[in-house]
Amino acid sequence: MLKKNIRSQVLIPLTLTFIILTGCFVYTTYRIRMDDYERGLDNRYQRVQLILNNLIANHTSYMTSAIEFIADQNQFQDAMRAKERGVLLKHGSPILKRLFSQQQITHFYFYDEYGAIVLRVYNPDDKSASMPRFTKQQAMAQGRTVSGLELGRSGTFTLRVVYPWKVNKKLIGYIELGQEYDHILKELNDFTLADFVVALDKQHLDRAAWEEGMQMLGRNADWNLLPDRVLIDQTATIPPRVVATFLATDQVSGKNGRKLEVHGRTYHANSFPLLDVAQKPVGKFVLFADLTDNISSFRVFIVQVASFSLLVCAGLFFYSFQVLGRVDRRLLENRQQLGIEFEKQAETNKQLEFEVIERRRAEESLVTLNEYLEQRVLDRTNELRQLNLQLEASHAELEEAYRNLQTHQATIQQQDRMACIGQLAASVAHDINNPIGFVAGNLEVLKNYWNKLAAFVAIQHDVLQRYGSAEWLRGVEEHRRRLKVDYVLEEFSAVLDESLEGTERVNTIVLNLKGFSRMDEKEARLADIHGCLESTLNIVWNKLRYKADIKKEYGDIPHILCYPQQLNQVFMNLLINASQSIGQWGEIKIRTWSDRENIFVAIADTGCGIAEENLPKLFEPFFTTKESGVGTGLGLSIVREIVNKHHGDITVVSVPGEGTVFTVHLPLGKLPQVTNHA
C-alpha cells in the first residue's frame, strides 16, 4: 500500500500545488496586466479629454482673435454701421475663405446691436432670422464674448464664439464665428489616434434636420439604431450595434470602462458625458481602445508562461518520479529489512517478556520468601528477645539468689563462728568457772578471815597499849613500822576487793561468750532489749573502752518477742562498726524508745561518716570500705538479715566527717507467740 502510493502521494499534491501556483501566477499576472491596461486607458481617457478641452480652448482663442481682428478693421466697422451687407460680404468672404482653409471655420455671422442677423457670410443668401442660441443670448445679456459648443437642430455640434462689437464703447453689433465639432474631433483623432464615438440624445434633435445634416456631411444616419441616442460621429469601425450595447449598459459600467469583443477584436470602451455651452448633457463621448493586439500578446505570454511552467513541472514530475521510485525501492528494501528485524525484535521481545514475567514471578516469590524470612527473623528475634529477657530476668534472679545465698552463707558462717565460739565458751566456761569459783569463794572467805584477824589485831593492840611496858611497846611499834602493818591493814581490803572484781569480770566474759553458743535458736522468746544491749556491751567492752565514751539513753520499752542472741549480734556489729569509724576518741550514744507498736534502737557515733555514694550499697554483702583483712563486708548484711527476720528494718543517716546514726526498728508482736519460760 505504502509502496504503491508514495509516488502518487507525493506527486499528486506536488503537481496540484504546482498547477495551483502556476494558475495563481498566471491569474495574478493577468490581473496586474489588466489593471495596468485599465489604468493606462483611464489615463489616456483623461488625457484625451484634456486635449479635447485644450483644442476647444485653442480654437476658441483663435476664433476670438480672428473676430477681434475683424472688429478692429474700419471697413467692417463702417460697413456695419451703415449696415451695408455687400461691403461686409466683400471684405468678409476672403477672410472666411482663409479661416476655413486654415481652421475649418465654417460659420461667420454679423448681427446688429439687437441680435438680429445682418449677414451670414458663409451663406449670404440665407437671410432668415437666426435661431435663438445660448451663446448669443449670453453675450447680449452679459455684454462680453461668450463661447461654447452648441448643438444644432441638425445634430451637428458647433463651437461658436459671439463677440459684442463695440466701437468707441458703442455697441454696433455682434460678430460670430463657428466651427464644426467634427473637425475638432478629427483633429483629436489625428493627434491621439484614439477611436471614439459621439452619441447624442434624441430629445435634443429634430429627426429630419438631423438626417438632412448627416446626409449633408456624407455620413450614415440611422435614427433607429439606438432607442434614445443617435450616433453623429465615429472614427472606429465599430458596429453601431456594439456601440448601442455598450451605451445601453453604460450606466452600470465601472469607471474604468468596459471590454468589448467585436469581430474577433477586443476593445476597451469608456465614456464621459458630452456637455453643451449651457453645461447641459446632451450626449455621450465614448472612447475606444483596441486591445486585441495587447491581449493576443498577453495571451501568447500567458501561453508561454503556462507551457514553460508545464514543461518545468513535467521535468520535475519525471525527476521526482524517478527519484521517488528509487526512494521507493530503497524504502521497500528497508521495510523488508525492518520487517525481518521487527520480527526478530518481536521474537526477542517475546522472549524478554517471557523472561520478565519469569523474573517477576521469581521476584514475587523472593519477596514472599523475604517477607516470610523477615517474619521468621522477626519472630525469632522476638523469641530471642523474650528468651533474652527471661534469661536476663533469671540471671538477675540467679544473681539475687546468689547474693542472698552469699548473705545467708555469710550469716550462717558468722553464726557458725559465733556458735563455735559459744560452744567453746560453754565447754570452757565450766573449767574456768570452777577455778574462778573457788578463787572468788576463797577471796570472800579470805575477806571474812581478814576481818576477823584485823579485829583481833586491833584488840591485841589495845590490850598491849593498856597493859604492856613501854619497852615492849616500843619494840612492837618498831616491828609494826618495819613490817608496814598499818599499810597492810589499810590495803588488805582493797587487794581482796580488786581480786574479787577480777573474778567477776572473768565471769562476765565467760557468760557473754556463752550467750553466742546458740545462734540458731529455734524459738523466739520475750526478752529485754536493754539486757541484750548490756550483754553485747560487756562483750565488746574491751574494744570500745579505749575509743569512745558510751552514753546510754534508755527509754521505757516493753519486752519484745525476739531472738535475743541474734539481736545481740546486731548490736555487737553496729557497736564494733561505730568504734572502728572513730579515729582517736569519740562518743557512742545508745538510745532506745518505743511507740505503741515499735521499739527503736539508735546507735550513733561521732566517727568519720559514710560517703553518700556508698549509702545504697551499705547493706550489700561484701561491701566494705575497710582495709583488706579488717572487714568481711558481711557485718551489715547480717544485721539486715536479722532485722528482716524480725520484720523490722534498719535505716542509716550519715554526715561525712560528723558521724553516723543507725536506727533499728523492731515491730512488736510480729513474731509467733511462744511460751514464756522465764
Binding site: 565450766h430 568457772n433 569459783g437 573457788f438
Partner: protein, 135 residues
C-alpha cells in the same frame, strides 16, 4: 532446839568443797564433802540423812542433776541445790520445773547468796520438822 544442819557437798574439785566449808564456817552447819555423786549416794545411805545436798553439775560419772534426781526420789525432804559453772539449760529448766531443785547457784557464786540459800533451806527444814512433829 535446833540441831546442827547437816550439808552434803558433792564436787570433783576439792578446792570448791574447801571454799564452801570455809564460807559456811560461821554458821551452825556441818559440811560433809564428797568427790563424786556415787560417794554422795553412798554417804547418804550409810549415815544419817542430811538436811541439804549441794551438788556440782558436771562431774565424772553421774552428773549433778541425775544425782539430785536420785536424792529427790529417795530423800524427798532433803533440800537440793545445784551449783554449776556450766549447765544444760534445758535439763536445768526441766529440773526446776519438776521441783527437783530448790535452787540453782551459778559458779562463781557469792558467799552471801550461798548463805542466804542455806538459811532458807534451814528455815524450810525447820518448818517441815515442825509439821512432822505435829503429825
Amino acid at each position: 532446839m535446833p540441831e546442827t544442819i547437816q550439808i552434803l557437798c558433792v564436787d570433783d574439785e576439792s578446792y570448791i568443797l574447801n571454799v564452801i566449808r570455809r564460807q559456811l564456817c560461821d554458821l551452825d552447819v556441818e559440811v560433809h564433802p564428797v568427790r563424786s555423786a556415787e560417794d554422795g549416794l553412798r554417804f547418804l545411805r550409810q549415815t544419817h540423812p542430811v538436811h541439804v545436798v549441794l551438788s556440782d553439775y558436771r562431774m565424772p560419772g553421774m552428773d549433778g542433776i541425775e544425782f539430785l534426781g536420785y536424792v529427790s526420789r529417795e530423800w524427798p525432804t532433803v533440800t537440793r541445790i545445784l551449783l554449776s559453772g556450766f549447765t544444760d539449760a534445758e535439763a536445768l529448766q526441766e529440773a526446776l520445773e519438776q521441783k527437783r531443785l530448790f535452787a540453782f547457784l551459778p559458779k562463781p557464786w557469792r558467799a552471801e547468796e550461798l548463805k542466804k540459800i542455806i538459811a532458807e533451806a534451814v528455815e524450810r527444814n525447820a518448818e517441815r520438822s515442825l509439821s512432822e512433829v505435829t503429825i
